[in-house]
């Protein structure tokens, strides 16, 4: 194993400052995990640490950098936009907001006519949940055990205990959690006909991308219809072509009542998130259009960037490209699995949404560390640390994919030796 490069004095000093002024707990946790990353320059799917080390970004901050860092067309549109617009005044009709809403309506189809704007994903989730409550006049929100929807009031309450108890923000009366892929539990939660909605990520990211079992989401949607609850699809990490279609839910043959998109829609360039709502459930927009507002929600510059992001993703070549990238990784990773069958045991995959399974307690953490030391940045799943979140961008080139696979093979070998070599559970393969 190559020794990690020693830190420069500048970096050491900076990390100390980060602990002093920003976030001591988080800063230290990364150092403890062997990841001393301070991201400096970035371009396409590449990052450079402040000490100059190059990393291929397979984290993408949850798909925020889906089409790459600092995409040149996004920089261009942002520059052009600032010649005329700023964030705008959220009280008034806006050319950019309406144009993006119109585009999203066309993309989503059906009666998904309305778009509500937020400045981030969690705020958008709150808007979606409030909208569902208004439409159904019910309070209860059903979500998945260990779900993750962000950190604002309603969003954090719908998520895992991990992030709400510390802030005394749990609310078990109104927020019910059911296990993923369990239809009986889902039916039990909904059959009281008192749930405003079910909210779920099409594939739960922070949970390590467990895949919906065949037919599960369709049955869930049917249950929602049967018991009068709305289906809110959190497509923050699964949307925008990452599953091979514009929205992940399309791969599972369902049409939700509300769709939340964030992260990638901003192109990583200007914060914005959106809720797209079916016409019958957007009643508050007519009843009292001022009922929810957000100064920075749907900032006009963000709308321009989002429109360009969607324009790029809608180009006819992108779909085959996502297919190629996801096929290439599946095929290449299977070759690596053959080398370490008792360690690297499975691949959860829907397009470029991927979770790599390591059959060892917290097995994804050493893999993450060795990947980091070998020039690839991918993050383990907070809520299932046996699983490495493996999230290539949808515009990755063939050469970069090949480079990633070569680096993954080397890093998995090193992690294998670290996890299983000493314990005598397996043979050490010369890496």
């Amino acid at each position: 194993m190559s020794d990690p490069k020693p830190q420069s004095p500048e970096k050491r000093e900076f990390i100390a400052k980060s602990k002093t002024y920003w976030n001591p707990g988080k800063t230290q946790a990364w150092q403890d995990m062997g990841v001393d990353l301070v991201i400096d320059r970035r371009e396409g799917y590449l990052l450079w640490d402040m000490d100059g080390r190059r990393l291929i970004d397979l984290h993408l901050n949850g798909g925020t950098y889906n089409i790459g860092h600092r995409h040149p067309e996004l920089i261009e549109v942002l520059n052009r936009g600032t010649q005329r617009f700023d964030m705008g005044n959220h009280h008034f009709p806006s050319q950019a907001r309406t144009a993006l809403a119109e585009r999203l309506a066309r993309i989503c189809g059906g009666d998904m006519h309305y778009t509500m704007y937020a400045s981030g994903g969690a705020e958008a989730i709150d808007i979606a949940l409030k909208t569902a409550r208004h439409a159904t006049q019910r309070r209860k929100i059903v979500s998945i055990v260990n779900a993750y929807h962000g950190h604002t009031g309603l969003a954090v309450a719908a998520g895992a205990d991990r992030f709400k108890k510390i802030f005394l923000s749990d609310n078990p009366e109104e927020f019910v959690h059911v296990p993923f892929n369990d239809l009986n539990a889902m039916e039990d939660a909904l059959k009281g006909k008192d749930a405003a909605c079910l909210i779920m990520e099409t594939i739960p990211a922070t949970y390590g991308f467990p895949m919906p079992l065949p037919g599960y989401l369709q049955e869930v949607k049917k249950l929602c219809e049967r018991y009068g609850s709305l289906y809110v699809a959190d497509e923050v990490q699964t949307g925008l072509m990452r599953c091979g279609e514009m929205w992940g839910y399309q791969r599972y043959g369902i049409t939700p009542d509300l769709v939340v998109t964030g992260k990638g829609i901003s192109g990583g360039m200007y914060p914005i998130a959106c809720v797209i709502v079916r016409e019958p459930y957007a009643g508050w927009l007519t009843q009292d259009g001022f009922a929810h507002m957000s100064t920075m929600g749907g900032a006009e510059l963000g709308c321009l960037v989002a429109m360009k992001t969607l324009e790029i993703l809608e180009r006819p070549t992108v779909k085959p490209m996502v297919n190629y990238i996801s096929e290439t990784f599946r095929n290449g990773l299977h070759e690596i699995m053959r080398l370490y069958p008792d360690f690297f045991v499975g691949i959860r995959q829907c397009g470029v949404v991927m979770g790599l399974e390591f059959d060892f307690p917290e097995g994804a953490k050493p893999v993450m560390k060795h990947l980091y030391e070998n020039g690839v940045w991918a993050i383990f799943s907070t809520l299932d640390p046996r699983v490495l979140q493996f999230k290539p961008g949808v515009l990755m080139t063939a050469d970069l994919c090949a480079e990633v696979l070569e680096r993954v093979e080397r890093s998995v070998g090193l992690a294998y030796a670290e996890c299983l070599g000493r314990g005598g559970r397996g043979k050490i393969r010369a890496a």
Binding site: R84, M321, N331, H334, R348, D359
Partner: protein
């Protein structure tokens, strides 16, 4: 969307950004396709050729309608020849398999260029698309086409039909792509892309020069200006018929058409007579002056007469020619910069110059090609081998067609030259290729060369498959979905592993079988899910 928003979104990088994505997709397609075996490649190329053949007439009509150039019936013939016939020809050669040459202890492996970037002209739009696509397909290359804007509609349609057929027959997605809104800056952007393997440039000289200065390997060819020498040993009736047949073919739009007939004085009058009988109108001196003004009055060739019929061109100078007139003959008294009619004429106006003897004809033929058309084509009608040889050696043309129509003959129809719509003009014509361009130009070979010492034995490669092994091929058809093993509920679903590439020809069957197994498992699971 309001105009202001649209204007902000319409950045300068929109077109080049989209083109870069096409290149990236083509790169994936090329990587997979380069591992296909010959049977599978031929299946794909045949499917593309067949759909091209089936639409030969329809697209010939569309091309004439869109560009106003040429003759529908002749374009249909060209389209047919560049689809089914060309495929049959190429299918005889193997650009996909290893060649084992035990006698020199060498194995040769074909290595495709990767991405072929092909510019296609307005004059021969559909057949050029057909020809370039088929060359790319049989050599396991991906191709991106950029049609001439004047022939955009029919060219895009032709490319899309072939793409659908190729993909339907199993080609990786994006193997054939077409730029639907080409413009000069965009073309230059793509030409300079490091992803391009080779540029196949057919078009005007500036475009060809631009291809050569892009920094990428390029095959571009120069213009033609073919002399046709008729000596006193020629069969004059045959010669006349062949010249008229050639010069009137598709209204003389092929760059291999005859520019000036060089007639040896002793047979010149009889040849004129024979040309008249074959369908030529011999222009009177004042008509020649009018033609000169019409064709070259503005300095360069007037594209308004490009590919127009003799009758239409006659009408433009106030002549009412009989409808069966096929060519207008313009007698000139010199070859050179001071006689514009001795330049290339992509219309059925044919120069006619009397020369005192064959040697004088050779001198004038050299002069003609000095003017333009270096490295291109020349024709001779003669029974006299020494003259034919002397002509071939003296004239700076890389194909000399003997006793045949030059338009067709130099392009490989009616001679044994390779059928082609890109005519290599070689070093005379500032081109990298001197032959008629064919699939062999789109593939390199890796040569595995053993030590010649007899003590080093040559390996046995006869049963090996060069393209086997390694991960399964990505074909771009569907983004995979799979459950892992550690996830709850996944234990009942065993994901079939993608099989490594064995013989690429068997992938279809394996993929179908795997899909079948997957479907059965999922059905079963769906039932079990609620229990």
């Amino acid at each position: 969307m309001t105009a202001i928003v649209e204007e902000i979104l319409a950045g300068e990088q929109r077109a080049t950004g989209a083109a870069d994505l096409m290149l990236q997709t083509a790169e994936w397609a090329a990587a997979a396709y380069a591992r296909f075996d010959r049977a599978r490649v031929l299946k794909i190329a045949r499917a593309a050729a067949e759909v091209a053949y089936a639409h030969a007439g329809e697209l010939a009509e569309a091309a004439v309608k869109e560009t106003g150039f040429g003759v529908v019936a002749h374009k249909k013939i060209k389209n047919e020849l560049t689809s089914r016939a060309l495929f049959e020809l190429y299918a005889h050669e193997d650009f996909c398999s290893a060649r084992i040459r035990a006698e020199v202890k060498m194995v040769e492996l074909p290595r495709p260029a990767g991405i072929v970037f092909a510019l296609t002209p307005s004059t021969n739009p559909v057949c050029s698309v057909y020809y370039k696509v088929l060359m790319a397909l049989v050599t396991r290359n991906a191709i991106i086409l950029s049609p001439h804007p004047l022939a955009r509609g029919c060219s895009v349609k032709a490319a899309q039909l072939m793409a659908e057929a190729a993909e339907g027959a199993g080609a990786p997605l994006g193997i054939i792509q077409v730029i639907e809104q080409p413009n000069l800056p965009l073309i230059e952007h793509v030409m300079k892309s490091p992803r391009v393997g080779v540029i196949l440039a057919t078009g005007g000289t500036p475009m060809v020069r631009s291809a050569y200065s892009s920094g990428n390997p390029a095959i571009g060819v120069g213009p033609g200006n073919a002399p046709a020498l008729v000596d006193d040993s020629a069969d004059l009736n045959h010669a006349a018929k062949r010249i008229i047949e050639s010069k009137s073919f598709d209204n003389s739009i092929l760059c291999t058409n005859e520019s000036v007939v060089l007639a040896v004085e002793s047979i010149a009058d009889r040849l004129l007579q024979a040309l008249k009988s074959a369908g030529a109108h011999v222009a009177k001196p004042e008509e020649v002056a009018a033609l000169r003004e019409l064709l070259f009055g503005r300095g360069t060739f007037n594209v308004e007469v490009l590919g127009k019929s003799a009758v239409e061109i006659g009408a433009r100078i106030g002549l009412k020619l009989p409808p069966n007139t096929r060519v207008i003959l313009a007698e000139i008294d010199r070859i050179g910069i001071d006689e514009p009619l001795s330049k290339e004429k992509l219309c059925p106006v044919l120069g006619f110059l009397r020369v005192p003897h064959a040697q004088g004809g050779i001198t004038q033929a050299r002069a003609l090609i000095r003017l333009s058309g270096a490295g291109h084509s020349a024709a001779i009608h003669s029974q006299h081998a020494p003259t034919i040889l002397a002509y071939g050696a003296a004239v700076k043309a890389l194909r000399v067609v003997v006793n045949a129509p030059c338009s067709q003959g130099a392009a490989g129809y009616g001679t044994h030259l390779a059928p082609a719509f890109t005519i290599g003009t070689g070093y005379f014509g500032s081109s990298s290729v001197g032959e008629n361009v064919g699939p062999q130009h789109l593939v390199n070979w890796t040569r595995i060369a053993y030590n010649e010492d007899p003590a080093e034995a040559f390996g046995d490669f006869s049963v090996l498959d060069a393209w086997a092994g390694g991960p399964a091929l990505a074909l771009g058809r569907e983004a995979p979905m799979s459950l892992g093993r550690l996830q709850e509920g996944a234990d009942s679903v065993q994901d079939p592993m993608p099989l490594p590439t064995s013989s690429a020809g068997t992938i279809d069957e394996i993929a179908i079988l795997r899909e079948e197994i997957r479907r059965m498992v999922l059905e079963e699971l769906r039932g079990a899910l609620r229990s």
